[in-house]
């Protein structure tokens, strides 16, 4: 039985407990109709149901992690496993092959050696499934009966249920902290492993990037792990080209929509801009690769630049800029709208035209918000993956020519982790180091942006 079925079983048992407890509580209520019972029957019901479902769900969660390992151990102990290769890639391949046949995911095996293991696998899986189901039933029964026996007229079920609800809510909000911790710990852990093989100095200041996932993992060539070209490509595409497109267009759109457009126009254009933000990045990437990049190359040819490549930093940057427009525009919109009306009225009353008011009063007053918005936009642009994967190219060029292919941090993360290398190879681990740098930089940008907003917001309050 898979964890999903066990979960349904748990919910069913919970429902049974819920109904039983409610019936019992109602019975109390009928018996001593003169005396009040301490909580509504529903709360007694929830008390029992929670006592059944929560322990069982915790058990299933643990079991679904432990059981596959127990199964593997049981299979390895079987006589048929004796002639497996002792360790390494092939052993894992045979095991997972046998496993997927036993589970019914695939019909045939690639490795003939796996055939012998299918039966032991099947036996072990069904045995541990039985054990899991039995344990589920036993746990549900024990906790359920214990809770059920506590259902008495004077039992304060409501306060207990509410206390449990509070704890559950608190745990749910802790998931965010756990996620953040999980990100930091896993990135730091793998990054430290990477720096065990390649020195941080080589990584952060080297100018040649070309890890070879097939090289000897114990003795990597540190000079091939210089990430400066990646950092430069990321900044050039995400923070320079994209922003040259996005800042003027986004800012001017926001100004037009807030200051000039009639409410009717605004009601139509604003959702359209939001659609621009809602288009998946893979679609932008395809657009960049299929339409924009060839157009740029042809344009470059027609003005006599013959070295233009099919993948260019310019194509990726332009499309990324378009993707960021709505982001810049909505941030600018918010901060311009937050400027007090009195400033605008005062300026207009002095005889300034609308555009003079905007340029000399509104934008300077809204500047902290606009700058913060741009920083957030940059942080989003440098973390953007699909557009650069599909349009920017893989060559780590340290150049200022926007018509050449360039690569970025996110591209290399994808390339290193979807490549051929084993998980322990420094080339693969370098993806985590790059991810760590990306995480720190985006976090820093966000942090600065938020503190800029906070610091300057109160000026007009």
């Amino acid at each position: 039985m898979s964890p999903a079925i066990l979960l349904v079983l748990a919910l069913g048992l919970g429902l049974a407990g819920w109904l039983a407890a409610r019936a019992r509580a109602w019975a109390f209520k009928r018996d001593n109709s003169a005396k009040r019972i301490a909580a509504l029957p529903t709360y007694h019901a929830w008390y029992v149901a929670l006592w059944i479902v929560i322990p069982v769900v915790v058990f299933i969660g643990l079991w679904s992690v432990i059981a596959p390992q127990l199964v593997t151990q049981a299979v390895l102990a079987a006589p048929a496993a004796a002639d497996l290769p002792t360790f390494g890639f092939q052993r894992d391949a045979i095991l997972s092959d046998a496993r997927s046949v036993a589970m019914g995911d695939t019909v045939g095996v690639f490795n003939q050696a796996a055939n012998a293991l299918v039966e032991p696998y099947r036996a072990a899986i069904s045995r541990y499934n039985m054990i899991g189901a039995l344990c589920t039933l036993v746990i549900a029964f024990l906790t359920g009966v214990w809770a059920f026996l506590r259902v008495k007229p004077n039992f304060t079920a409501r306060t207990r249920v509410e206390r449990a609800v509070m704890v559950i809510l608190l745990l749910a909000s802790l998931v965010a902290i756990l996620t953040t911790l999980g990100i930091v710990v896993s990135l730091v852990f793998e990054t430290v492993r990477f720096f065990g093989a390649v020195s941080p100095i080589d990584f952060l200041f080297g100018t040649h990037w070309g890890p070879d996932p097939m090289s000897n993992p114990d003795n990597p060539d540190g000079t091939r792990y210089g990430a400066i070209p990646l950092f430069w490509g990321t900044i050039y595409i995400g923070a320079i080209i994209a922003m040259i497109v996005a800042i003027p267009l986004g800012l001017m759109s926001a100004i037009y929509l807030t200051q000039y457009a009639s409410p009717r126009t605004r009601a139509w254009i604003k959702p359209a801009l939001e659609v621009l933000a809602g288009v998946p990045t893979v679609v932008y990437g395809y657009f960049a690769a299929l339409t924009v990049a060839p157009a740029i190359r042809d344009l470059a040819f027609s003005v006599g630049l013959t070295n233009a490549s099919n993948e260019s930093a310019l194509a990726a940057g332009l499309v990324m800029g378009i993707m960021i427009i709505p982001f810049v525009s909505s941030m600018a919109d918010d901060s311009i709208a937050a400027v007090p009306q009195a400033l605008r009225d005062g300026s207009l009353a002095m005889g300034a035209t609308t555009s003079e008011t905007i340029r000399q009063v509104l934008v300077p007053a809204a500047l902290p918000g606009i700058v913060a918005g741009i920083m957030l936009a940059v942080s989003r642009a440098i973390g953007e993956t699909m557009i650069v994967v599909m349009a920017a190219g893989a060559a780590a060029n340290l150049t200022g020519n926007p018509l050449e292919a360039m690569t970025t941090v996110t591209f290399q993360i994808v390339a290193m982790l979807t490549g051929e290398g084993s998980f322990d190879h420094p080339a693969t681990l370098s993806a985590f180091a790059l991810g760590f740098v990306l995480f720190i930089v985006t976090l820093g940008l966000n942090f600065i942006a938020l503190s800029v907003v906070k610091r300057f917001r109160e000026v007009y309050d």
Binding site: T179, S253, L257, F287, T442, L443
Partner: protein
């Protein structure tokens, strides 16, 4: 009385005023231009995708009449499962029958350009309607990618002329290919379909929703209604705001390092993909949920407390139902973003070639955006149109979700 110019309205003033008004007009035009450019790009993108994509819902098909009275095939006994019925027809020589009649009708060169698996289409039709075995039936079978390219005016001159000949005889044409919505990935652009990826997306989204929605709503309730103002609460708030801004690819790294380490057998499973995307979507739900909860007026809480409701009852009986439309709107928008997300799923291995729709939450799968990414890498020109068609399917789903969100917002959200 003669009209005198006011002393301020000198020539210099007039010239300056003219300049200022011209600047005003230019500025306004620049603003309008920016808006029009952005909207124009959006339209251009949608139109390009649609024009390309319409071709993706068609494929080049060859007409092959088959006279079953000569073929001597017998239908499989009723009650046989689909795969074994197809096998029985194969054993009886259906592929050869199809090939023979194709040569009769299209000539040797034309028959060679029939898709390898064309006989399966015939087999499926026989199984659904065995009566056709008693007469002659005209089948419309997929042509090879080469011939399809030839029909589109690409590829070798030989193919182009063959395609032109067959098309002139009315035996080759582009027909609507609804099978695109029901088949799965294949190596042949004429035989691919989107259903496998779509099903993978649906399963993944289901996991994401089941995890992110309850956790997100509960976290929002806690932070907005119960959390004491202390350092812990601040830490929780800061980490939620930060998570909302972390690049999606970082969540992919997390999924790879944590979830795949815990469940090594579930590479490229919707369960892992859904868990990864849930972590990404949860902060969005929390933030929009908190705004919705904040919008519920204090008087409702006070009223409920005044007639003796407990803190938990106030929230679950009154605040949550009133805030739910707003929370749902935010949830749908977060889910729409998750549906279009590609990068984190690449990290956890959902880029495998999966030729059958995933059977469940733990079987290998791919999702729509990843499928688009994989097809966009194919060299065969036939995949260009298929990729655009897949993009149309994805965009239709996103528009649908956003439409529902807007409807919910307009229909149920109250202004207090």
């Amino acid at each position: 009385m003669t009209e005198q110019a006011a002393p301020t309205r000198t020539d210099k003033f007039e010239a300056r005023l003219k300049r200022r008004y011209a600047a005003e007009r230019r500025f306004k035009m620049a603003g309008l231009g920016a808006v029009l450019f952005s909207v124009g790009v959006l339209l251009f993108l949608l139109v390009t995708m649609s024009i390309n994509g319409i071709g993706g819902f068609q494929r080049a098909e060859l007409s092959v009449p088959i006279d079953f009275t000569q073929a001597g095939l017998s239908a499989a006994p009723a009650g046989l499962s689909q795969p074994s019925a197809v096998q029985s027809l194969q054993a009886q020589g259906l592929p050869q029958v199809v090939e023979y009649f194709a040569e009769e009708s299209l000539g040797k060169a034309g028959a060679d350009q029939l898709s390898d698996n064309a006989w399966r289409t015939v087999a499926d039709q026989i199984i659904t309607n065995p009566a056709i075995l008693r007469g002659t039936e005209e089948f419309s079978l997929a042509a090879s990618p080469k011939l399809a390219g030839g029909l589109g005016g690409e590829g070798s001159a030989e193919m182009q002329s063959l395609a032109a000949d067959l098309a002139a005889q009315g035996k080759l044409e582009n027909r609507l290919d609804l099978g695109f919505l029901t088949r799965s990935d294949a190596t042949n652009s004429q035989m691919v379909g989107i259903w496998g990826a779509l099903k993978g997306s649906i399963l993944t989204m289901l996991v994401t929703l089941l995890l992110a929605f309850p956790i997100g709503v509960m976290a929002a309730l806690y932070l907005e209604e119960y959390a004491p103002k202390n350092r812990w609460t601040d830490v929780i708030e800061v980490s939620i705001n930060n998570l909302a801004a972390v690049p999606s690819i970082i969540f992919g790294l997390l999924g790879l390092a944590v979830f795949l380490a815990l469940f090594p057998n579930m590479r490229s499973a919707p369960l892992i993909g859904g868990m990864t995307l849930a972590l990404m979507t949860m902060p969005v739900i929390v933030i929009s949920g908190r705004n919705a909860i904040k919008a519920v007026p204090q008087s409702i809480r006070d009223g409920a407390l005044a007639i003796g409701a407990s803190q938990v009852q106030v929230v679950f009986h009154h605040v949550l139902p009133l805030a739910l439309p707003g929370i749902l709107t935010g949830t749908i928008i977060g889910m729409a973003r998750a549906l279009g997300e590609t990068a984190p799923l690449l990290m956890i291995g959902m880029r495998a070639f999966v030729a059958t729709p995933p059977a469940g939450f733990t079987s290998p799968a791919t999702v729509l955006p990843v499928q688009i990414f994989l097809w966009s890498d194919e060299i065969d020109r036939g995949f260009v149109e298929r990729t655009s068609a897949a993009i149309i399917v994805l965009l239709v789903f996103l528009l649908l979700m956003n439409g529902i969100a807007i409807y919910l917002r307009n229909r149920f959200e109250k202004k207090w």
